[in-house]
């Protein structure tokens, strides 16, 4: 799956390179116009494109499989009689999904930087706020974006962990998690639901763009971290409550 994630910026860069049309500044999806001028933007553009669906898809695969996968294979009962406490099992599984989140976001950014450097010129980067930063600083910001997105995923991974405890069919759990991400994004776009927008776990996902301003805007970063922590706490507890109390008949 990491290879698939790496493909996003590669395909994007190749598409931009091979197309004869050149976008005027400001046209098309954000950042895409800047890619031809500066290969370092490939990573950011790819992140923007991947966030609504593809990245959550990979995250839901990993988190949906945590408990449901073991149950479906029948190995859950053997893990539990090793013995592994139900709490330890949940924690270890969750940490595994976190590791994947970090690996996935960093893979995306690194692949983006590499293919961007190969296909396009790189140089000082013009930020959204208009300032120009050097290549070294740009790489640092890329690291921050990857890190920020990893944090953005933690809440969803906790939701996935919980949904995974509800079924023995991994695909069902994966789909369930992905649907929550889709629903959250849809609600986030409907003005009628404005009151709950700050509580939706997808709300601050695209705010990684704030890292591309000078100075870096920290307000949404803080809110995001808190929101994700809340989701982890709530859904983590729900997952534990569910797993600890149910009979393991798989």
């Amino acid at each position: 799956m990491l290879a698939a994630i790496a493909m996003i910026p590669i395909v994007l860069a190749l598409a931009v390179e091979l197309s004869s049309e050149r976008l005027a500044p400001g046209e098309g999806p954000p950042f895409l116009d800047r890619v031809t001028q500066n290969g370092l933007f490939t990573g950011f553009t790819a992140m923007l494109l991947a966030l609504p669906l593809f990245l959550p898809l990979t995250m839901s695969v990993v988190s949906g499989d945590t408990i449901a996968g073991e149950a479906g294979q029948g190995t859950l009962r053997y893990l539990l009689i090793a013995p592994v406490s139900r709490l330890r099992l949940l924690v270890v599984k969750y940490l595994g999904t976190l590791a994947f989140a970090i690996a996935g976001t960093f893979t995306l950014m690194i692949a983006g930087a590499v293919i961007g450097a190969i296909l396009f010129p790189i140089g000082p980067v013009t930020l959204l706020s208009g300032d120009v930063i050097g290549v070294g600083e740009a790489v640092w910001r890329m690291t921050l974006v990857a890190f920020y997105t990893s944090i953005s995923m933690t809440g969803m991974l906790a939701v996935g962990l919980f949904i995974s405890t509800l079924t023995t069919i991994p695909v069902g759990a994966m789909t369930g998690v992905l649907v929550t991400s889709g629903v959250s994004q849809i609600l986030d776009n409907l003005p009628q639901f404005e009151a709950i927008h700050p509580w939706l776990f997808t709300h601050y996902w695209l705010d990684f763009a704030d890292i591309l301003r000078q100075p870096i805007e920290l307000s949404s970063m803080g809110s995001n971290a808190l929101l994700q922590l809340g989701y982890v706490a709530v859904f983590g507890s729900l997952a534990y409550g569910r797993l600890a109390s149910k009979d393991i008949l798989s």
């Binding site: 294979q73 009962r77 053997y78 539990l80 009689i81 013995p83 592994v84 393991i248 008949l249």
Partner: protein, 314 residues
């Protein structure tokens, strides 16, 4: 609750209710330490549910469970490292080789000594005869190989108790024989083996004790000699005058002789005097082609207690 309890497994009034009906009802098992205990019953009678409760996978609706002198499921962290189990078939990660699977399972156990892990895994594989196939992916294993791998998983550490749910399932006759030898060997090392089976021949061959279950209830438990004594001894006669022979039998106080497959069959006491019967028959000039005593077998007793039907209980 002391570790010196004479029983490896003890349950009191164990009950499990699933939406209205009792899968297990008032089960009071006593499995003596060091015994090979056979858990017998037709399909669907609650054997596997009981095993899941013993291992802390399912919660009893009521009743107590004591494993190796400690109460379950509260002491599972302390007790389960000493228990090896095969529950409702083996299960593995199909994309990992057999050996890697065992390494992974052993790593999950916090109490397992990491420095001896490789050696113990290899020893367990050798014990079940899987050393040659250890590097093959578990998903490619035949049913018999998976079963052996499951047994190896139960033997990764020195255990005090083994709970085996149908351990010879899917094995060819050679494999079945090897597993039975393995069980006898383990028993001789002092390990208590609790195995569930519906193969009576198997129970009679390896077990020292047994319990019979049906429809969630325990019918009887005890040592194998005691159980056999519960069955009925019969005398079977092949004579040329059935009516006259029936009269003779009735005269001796034998109740309800009936005709079966051309012979006269009747239930008698274990120390019935066949010689006297023969003499009487000869005296009445009844020709005796064959006369024999049939000792009780566990199979007859089992069928007697649980019914001859093919339908699953519930």
């Amino acid at each position: 609750m002391s570790p010196e309890s004479p029983y490896a497994i003890e349950t009191t009034g164990l009950t499990k209710t699933f939406s209205g009906h009792d899968a297990v009802s008032g089960l009071s098992l006593r499995v003596p330490r060091g015994s090979v205990f056979g858990f017998l019953g037709p399909n669907g009678c609650g054997k596997t549910t009981t095993i899941r409760m013993l291992l802390g996978l399912a919660e009893p609706s009521s009743g107590q469970i004591t494993l190796l002198g400690q109460s379950m499921p509260s002491s599972r962290e302390a007790v389960l490292p000493k228990v090896g189990a095969l529950v409702e078939g083996p299960a593995f990660y199909p994309y990992l080789p057999g050996r890697a699977n065992l390494i992974r399972m052993d790593s999950a156990d916090r109490h397992a000594d990491a420095s001896t892990r490789a050696k113990r895994v290899d020893a367990a594989l050798a014990r079940v005869g899987l050393s040659n196939a250890a590097r093959k992916k578990a998903g490619q294993y035949s049913l018999g190989m998976k079963q052996r791998l499951g047994l190896a998983n139960a033997l990764l550490k020195p255990r005090e108790l083994l709970i085996l749910d149908e351990p010879t399932n899917g094995l060819d006759p050679q494999g079945t024989r090897e597993v039975r030898n393995l069980i006898r060997q383990l028993a001789s090392e002092g390990i208590t083996v609790f195995l569930s089976s519906h193969l009576l021949v198997e129970i009679e061959q390896v077990c020292s004790h047994a319990a019979v279950m049906n429809a969630g209830k325990l019918l009887i438990q005890g040592s194998l000699p005691d159980l056999r004594a519960q069955g009925s001894t019969r005398v079977v006669l092949e004579v040329d005058d059935i009516a006259a022979a029936t009269e003779v039998l009735s005269g001796l106080g034998v109740k309800a002789p009936h005709v079966s497959k051309g012979g006269l069959v009747a239930e008698v006491v274990p120390d019935f005097d066949t010689a006297a019967l023969t003499a009487l028959l000869v005296k009445k000039k009844i020709g005796v082609k064959e006369i024999r005593m049939e000792r009780p077998s566990l199979e007859d007793y089992f069928v007697e207690m649980t019914g001859e039907g093919f339908d699953v209980v519930r």
